[in-house]
Amino acid sequence: MQIADGKETYSKGGEDSNAQSFAISIENLSHSYDGKKYVISDVSFNVNRGEIFGLLGPNGAGKTTTIKILTTLIQPSKGDVKILGFDLRKDGIKIRRRIGVVQQDSSFDFATVRQNLDLYGFLWGIPKEERTKRSIELIKMFGLEEVANQRAFDLSGGQQRRLQVAREFIHDMDLLFLDEPTVGLDPLMRRRILDLLKEKARKEGLTILFTTHNLEEADYLCDRVAIMDKGRLQALDTVERLKRIYGGTKAIEVILASSVLNSEIPIYDNFFRKLREVQVDVEVSKQPTDSEPAVIVSKHPEKVIEAIISVANEQRVKIEWLNVRKSTLEDVFIEAVAPSGSSEEVSSQGNAKESTTIAKSSTQGGGGGTSANS
């Protein structure tokens, strides 16, 4: 690494033509810690330069192991990985010169916030004057002014997380990995960090791969998301397309008039039976309570609404509330990682295959995320 005018410059040697398109290129990645059980199985995807890419999945899905492999901390058992055009197995140092890593576990030196930033900048070879300037900026940017002279270990969980993210911006990089960076942050700070990441990607072309359990922030931040479960890629696409694929089933919420509810006639049962007579794919996913609506799941919400109104008129039942809920990334996530054997399994498995095909076709097509993004 060389420093010129306070900025790091790097040798670009060793990059192949793929480096022009992809920041990350993964083909058939598998990993086992013990040689028996694979925690990652045959995962393939590409991440474009300048893209914000989310890696989602339940606990134990293999997200952190994937990040550890991509950041060269562990060697994969199988598969080919290129980071910024460099071969993961051969060019660890070259890769690490150009990436930043915010790990899931906290990591600090036994020093103050200010000293932690300074020490980290020192390790990156940033000249004293420059790292002092950047430290001051980062302390301000991440709202750490009041605790700047406190030891990192004395900070609250949220403050520690802020410091950990802030520290990574003390150096320049082309690709940033963040493993659940917003855990423990309050909503304001979370939004501030997400906006900062967005700005870095849009204005400076920084590629970001991050994992999160918070689907709202993935929805807010990511150009594309990959959903992993049990070490396998279940879905990969833009958030909007995933919503269309997985969220094709809409939720229609309905509340019938309370006067009817209090009657002895099982009015909802009759109502749903009539609905099924006119509507083949109606499924009541949630029975109503005094305060909660009945939820009807259908791939054709417009037909269901028509039927509801028609049946209500025929039955002389007053509709108090009718709503079609927009699909969320949470719907996508739940469908993609639905536990096997559940009633949702059949449809979610089918959708998972469909979406994985999209992921694979985008990889094989050489355009990777480009085709999926379009």
């Binding site: 690494m1 420093i3 950041t71 060269t72 901390l73 562990i74 660890g92 140092i93 690490r96 010169r97 990436i99 890593v101 790990q103 576990d105 906290s106 990591s107 600090f108 030196d109 036994f110 020093a111 000293q115 020490l119 020192f122 390790l123 990156w124 070879g125 940033i126 000249p127 004293k128 270990f153």
Partner: protein
């Protein structure tokens, strides 16, 4: 500073992180207390004695052992660096930076040796007013510095081996204390080993590298005419071999160490 070799940069970071007051008390304070308390208490009851034709006061004898002991304490600091970095996540964080594992190890060993040498200078400054006789000669200086470097590398390697093997904080601390106790007291650091020393303890003393570090330092602090009467070159060779073996064992263990303790 930006053009520093990576191991030197890591060593500087290690020294900055590990030279908080509490750590300094352990690294420097403990040998200093041994020097002051043992020096002042025993010097009045132990008459001067001769080794290799050179007459030592107890204070003059002790300073060689205390400087050698400083390399043990610096070694514990080296082990603690890896231990703390594993425990507090900095080991994996540093390895995600453009550093190799070997450079990280180099940083730990360099910091350990630097701490050992700096601590020794401070201990000499304490020993002189206490009546320790110190003679400085070029060959003596080489012997002192060389012995301290080898001692620093040996004990750092030993503690790195422990830090790489053990996943429990209590176990690590307990093992460290036992090692310090056995290494420092079953050696000639504080008292000469002679034929009246029980055989098992004598054997352990002759296997203990601290004995040879202490002899190397002690020989370097007497007039050069007495140098080879105090230090047998075979001792230096034994120390060198022990250090290389311990380093290789530690390196092998360290190379496979888990990056995090969970």
């Amino acid at each position: 500073m930006s053009s520093l070799p990576n191991s030197v940069r890591l060593a500087w970071r290690n020294l900055r992180v590990n030279t908080d007051p509490a750590s300094l008390v352990v690294i420097l304070g403990l040998p200093a207390m041994y020097l002051v308390f043992m020096g002042t208490m025993y010097v009045s009851i132990i008459p001067p004695f001769s080794i290799g034709g050179f007459e030592f006061s107890y204070a003059s004898y002790l300073i060689g052992g205390i400087l050698a002991f400083e390399s043990v304490m610096a070694g514990t600091m080296g082990g603690s660096m890896l231990w703390a970095d594993r425990r507090f996540g900095m080991f994996s964080q540093i390895l995600s930076l453009p550093f190799t594992r070997t450079q990280y190890l180099g940083g730990v060993i360099l910091a350990t040796v630097a701490a050992s040498l700096a601590g020794s200078v401070a201990l000499v400054a304490i020993a002189i007013p206490m009546g320790s006789s110190i003679h400085v000669s070029p060959v003596g200086l080489v012997s002192v510095i060389g012995s301290l470097i080898l001692g620093g590398i040996f004990f750092c390697s030993l503690m790195l081996f422990v830090a790489a093997k053990v996943d429990s904080n209590n176990a690590y601390n307990s093992i460290q204390i036992v090692i310090i106790f056995i290494v420092s007291f079953v050696s000639d650091a504080y008292y000469p080993i002679n034929l009246r020393t029980p055989l098992p303890l004598r054997i352990i003393s002759y296997l203990n590298p601290l004995t040879y570090v202490a002899d190397g330092v002690r020989a370097g602090l007497v007039p050069s005419s007495n140098f080879f009467a105090i230090l047998n070159p075979i001792e230096t060779l034994v120390l060198l071999v022990e250090t290389i073996v311990m380093f290789l064992v530690a390196y092998r263990t360290y190379a496979n160490v888990k990056i995090n303790i969970t």
